[in-house]
Symmetry: C5
Subunit: 85 residues, 5 copies
């Protein structure tokens, strides 16, 4: 799993079926790269989370047919950004 920070919500009105009702988050990892994840937890911007990728990202969603390759798994209680660096 990877440690990432929630940046924003992704606004995207035109999607493939199977992503229609899920909220999408824009995340940034420690190296500064952006990614988009499905969020079954409900995380506000600014929080540090850890994410699961690949086929397991589908299994982490309440509906396992969701089209996703990155899902937020949990909010990290304490994370000092400097700890990561």
């Amino acid at each position: 799993m990877e440690i990432m920070r929630v940046v924003d919500e992704l606004v995207c009105s035109r999607r493939v079926p199977g992503l229609l009702s899920y909220s999408l988050r824009v995340l940034r990892n420690e190296q500064g790269a952006l990614a988009v994840a499905t969020d079954p937890v409900g995380v506000p911007p600014g929080k540090w989370v850890f994410t699961v990728s690949g086929s397991t990202a589908r299994l982490a969603m309440p509906d396992r047919t969701t089209i996703t390759d990155l899902t937020i798994c949990g909010i990290i209680d304490r994370w000092d950004e400097d700890e990561g660096e």
Copy 2:
């Protein structure tokens, strides 16, 4: 999922079976690397999209036996390139 920009259509007349009738797009990610994706949405060049990779890329296609490891999932409504940087 990854945030990428559509650069062009990929012209490729000689393919393996199972890719025969799908349109292919050349995309560029934020780091500048190119990739090829199947496009079930129909996206013109210049648009910012997000893509799903791995085995889930097949599930995002109308025909789930399509030979692909990267599929365009949706067009991002507003994306400021500077926001990514």
Copy 3:
């Protein structure tokens, strides 16, 4: 499999179901990047381990429905950090 060093335990009280009772470890690889792994072996911080990723990470857990994409597979008996460099 990848060679990584255990840095710390990850404290995370709010998780998706399916990760509820497993201990999570923060690891650092040779390039200095951090990752989070499930730990069925029980490894204290400071130890060098090797990890398995992708769908196989689930199969390495006692309960194969665990939501994980990185699992600690074993403790390396002797590992000279310089050997890696």
Copy 4:
């Protein structure tokens, strides 16, 4: 899928079963990294191709039990190397 150029044939007389009769190609991607792919299309050195990776690489082979994680999917009709840069 990734855009790569065929460099050479890979000569390898000692292999695991399941790779015995397939031709293997050495490819180079745009960043200059090398990779080995199975080739169901029959591509001569120098050509630009696009490749599929992961579990889908097996599905792109005529025999879907082939041991491969990278398969050549098609020859790109026109590819200006500068276009990629």
Copy 5:
């Protein structure tokens, strides 16, 4: 598949079940990064090999339930290190 060189055997007496009797090799790729692979071929240190990753790594083992995400597939007959560079 990736081109790598066998560096050493990995000594690891404490492992998860399912890896108990297989020999593990430490490999180095062209960029200098280390990885650990299962070895069904029997390769001495110093040899250039190619490896398969992901779920296919399990299928390349005689016992397909082996916990691995990287397996040595074959020894390359001739490999000039400069050819890779």
